[in-house]
């Protein structure tokens, strides 16, 4: 076979064409490879290199038996790429999103019309909503997963746990107070991605691992908390109170076993809750304690050796004048022993004891019992209460302060003062965070249970326990009695200061009860406060039953069984 030869002119044309092509390619290669070298390398790096953020997992909050009180779970969030959307697509997408995600049309139109590559449509949606979005099969609307805080017991301990904002940052309660431990530290990795945008793990260049948040272990016991909340909630509703708070504490260590406030809320849905419901009233609300404060006056007088419990005090038949004021007792008494002054809660008897003690000494004991300063509990928002220095006392102050007026306290301070009597005279520091451990269980922080100072002698404390036992057995605190268990306590019914600050209200009261059990070896102390209970308002009537109801279940749980006799 003979090959055809191309005519020389055609050969020349093809040859020239190839030469031109070759020149163009060479120039282009030179341009890309040399002149635009830096730019292209940078472009390629951006296209292939990939920085993946590794979000840290927020730590758990656990009760003392490691029951989960707060955890973080992945939930779907919806985002869009508005720049990819045409006007027509946007118009079609808005009604679908509106219906699926229950969002307003103006909101969606505003979000989708922005010239952005990423915009949140709705965060932390339900799995069902996410599934419906997935079914839309719209490439401009996608789903990613974010951590959201969940509280399995919903309202339980909510005023203490607090909650997190949409970005998972603690903004209330323990979530806020322990943010540094719980939040952890984000990590990242530099890696390459393939043509499909997938990460190529084999080409991982550098990894800085995330440090997950530590777990916070509380001193609170889930069961005791439940019982306390149930009893307090019942009283709060029954007596139509404006607010209620209670705390259960170990008198030896200061460990908080349960702490509750009403009104309350569900930590899973904190959005529309008014600030009053969010307060942890045990530490944020101060009140004039009224008669429960008499334990401080009595302890001080007995500790100073000014009185013996059998000494008799003239209670003036129910009316006694101090400077320009008259003090009254609920019932008219003439002679009462020191013990009976407390048992029957005589204002006149208490004031006469305080007069014997003197204002300076009384003030010193009040301070030693820890009033007028924060207890130092590891919860945010604690207030200190208020007690004036004796130099600023008026002529009537000595007739008011010994019976719990002109002094403001928190329920926690009252519980701590009760613990002084229960534990033999020592002031403890209340603790709610027992331990902080990292995710591998390594101890990071451990609470130190410490006694701050000796307030009264062990003998005085024992005498006071005996008196407070009598208060429950035959005095104003009979409704705190528990069959088969010895209980000590003191009731308080304090008039609230009028809103115009002109004297005390005759219709608004703070009803309270402080107590401990069993008297011989107190395992727990408790303070209960009801704000504006009605129609009944006596502490012995509205607050003492909360103590009895709680303790009758809590004591057997703690191994204190009622005597069969």
């Amino acid at each position: 076979m003979r090959l055809k030869t191309l005519p020389s002119n055609r050969f020349l044309v093809i040859n020239s064409f190839l030469l031109v092509c070759f020149v163009i390619i060479t120039v282009r290669l030179l341009n890309l490879g040399i002149f635009q070298n830096d730019k292209n390398i940078e472009f390629a790096r951006r296209q292939h290199s990939h920085v993946v953020e590794i979000p840290p997992k927020r730590g758990l909050i656990l009760d003392r038996n490691e029951n989960i009180l707060a955890t973080s779970l992945k939930t779907p969030s919806i985002y869009a790429v508005p720049r990819d959307l045409t006007r027509e697509e946007r118009k079609n997408l808005v009604p679908d999103l509106k219906e699926t995600l229950d969002l307003s049309r103006p909101y969606l139109e505003d979000r989708l019309s922005r010239d952005k590559l990423f915009i949140w449509i709705k965060r932390r949606v339900t799995p069902r909503e996410a599934e419906e979005i997935r079914e839309l099969e719209n490439p401009s609307v996608s789903i990613t997963e974010e951590y959201k805080r969940f509280y399995p017991y919903a309202t339980l301990l909510s005023n203490v746990l607090g909650f997190c904002n949409i970005d998972g940052k603690g903004i209330e309660g323990l979530e806020m107070g322990n943010e540094a431990y719980l939040k952890g530290q984000g990590g990242y990795k530099y890696t390459k991605r393939d043509a499909r945008g997938r990460e190529i793990p084999a080409l991982e260049e550098r990894v800085v691992p995330a440090i997950n948040g530590s777990n916070v272990l509380l001193t609170v016991d889930l069961f005791i908390q439940h019982v306390l909340e149930r009893e307090l909630s019942a009283a709060y509703k029954k007596w139509k109170a404006k607010g209620a708070s209670a705390v259960v504490m170990d008198p030896e260590t200061g460990e908080i076993l349960a702490i509750a406030s009403y009104p309350s809320y569900d930590s899973n849905e904190p959005g529309n809750i008014d600030p009053a419901s969010r307060r942890n009233r045990v530490i944020t609300d101060t009140y004039e304690p009224g008669s429960v404060f008499k334990i401080v006056t009595a302890s001080a007088c007995l500790n100073e050796g000014l009185f013996d419990i059998t000494d008799e005090i003239d209670c003036e038949g129910g009316e006694y004048r101090i400077a320009s004021n008259y003090i009254h007792d609920v019932h008219e008494y003439d002679l009462l022993s020191v013990e009976d002054v407390i048992i029957y809660s005589s204002n006149i008897g208490t004031v006469k004891m305080a007069q014997e003690l003197g204002s300076q000494k009384l003030y010193e004991y009040i301070k030693k019992f820890g009033f007028g300063e924060k207890t130092g509990i590891d919860l945010p928002g604690e207030v200190s209460g208020f007690i004036r220095h004796p130099k600023k006392w008026s002529g009537t102050s000595i007739g008011a302060i010994p019976m719990g007026q002109e002094v403001t306290v928190t329920a926690l301070q009252m519980a701590r003062a009760t613990a002084v009597i229960a534990n033999g005279g020592k002031l403890v520091k209340p603790v709610i965070v027992k331990e902080v451990r990292d995710e591998n269980g390594v101890l990071i922080k451990k609470a130190r249970f410490k006694w701050i100072n000796n307030v009264i002698s062990a003998e005085t404390a024992e005498t006071m326990r005996g008196i407070m036992k009598q208060v429950v057995e035959r005095g104003t605190g009979k409704r705190a009695r528990i069959k088969g268990v010895t209980v000590g306590g003191k009731t308080g019914t304090a008039q609230k200061v009028r809103e115009d600050r002109k004297g005390y209200s005759h219709s608004k009261f703070m009803s309270s009860f402080i107590g401990f059990a069993p008297v011989e070896n107190p395992k727990v102390v408790m303070a209960v406060v009801l704000d504006e209970a009605r129609p009944r308002y006596y502490g012995g009537t509205v607050a003492a039953p909360v103590f009895a109801g709680t303790m009758s279940e809590v004591l057997p749980y703690l191994g204190v069984y009622p005597d069969a006799e």
Binding site: N67, I68, T71, L73, K74, F150, P152, Y153, A154, L156, R198, E199, I200, P201, A202, L222, F223, H226, E229, R230, K483, G484, S552, E553, P556, Y561, P562, A564
Partner: protein, 124 residues
């Protein structure tokens, strides 16, 4: 011919080496993808585990349990009187009239005697 082979052998070795290298690279990539897939699965399973733990916690909520008990009218209440019974183990135990030796023996080390007693107890 011999000279050609002399050149071809090193070229073949180089080519085989390069192919081996490529194969290893491809496998490394493939395995790394698999590792990542498994990591992703592990993460999903761990997340599922966390969700289940959360569900358990929710189901264990004492408030919820009390509500169910109230609804079903199971009026449970705290025992009023608690009797404490102390058991004092006798030195000799009689089972079916047979005296069982409580003294430690060689066979006790392997739990044989315990097992035998348990079987007797089951028969009762």
């Amino acid at each position: 011919m011999r000279a050609t082979v002399k050149y071809l052998i090193p070229i073949a070795i180089v080519i085989v080496g390069m192919l081996l290298y490529v194969m290893l690279q491809v496998n490394a990539y493939r395995i790394s993808y698999e590792i990542r897939q498994n990591e992703s699965k592990l993460s999903k399973v761990s997340e599922e585990n966390k969700k289940l733990r959360f569900d358990i916690a929710r189901l264990k909520n004492p408030e919820r349990i009390e509500e169910i008990l109230t609804r079903k009218d199971i009026s449970l209440e705290m025992p009023h009187d608690i009797n404490q019974v102390t058991f004092v183990l006798p030195k000799k135990v009689l089972l079916h009239g047979i005296e069982m030796n409580q003294k430690p023996s060689f066979f006790n080390l392997f739990g044989l005697v315990k097992e035998a007693q348990a079987k007797v107890a089951e028969d009762m």
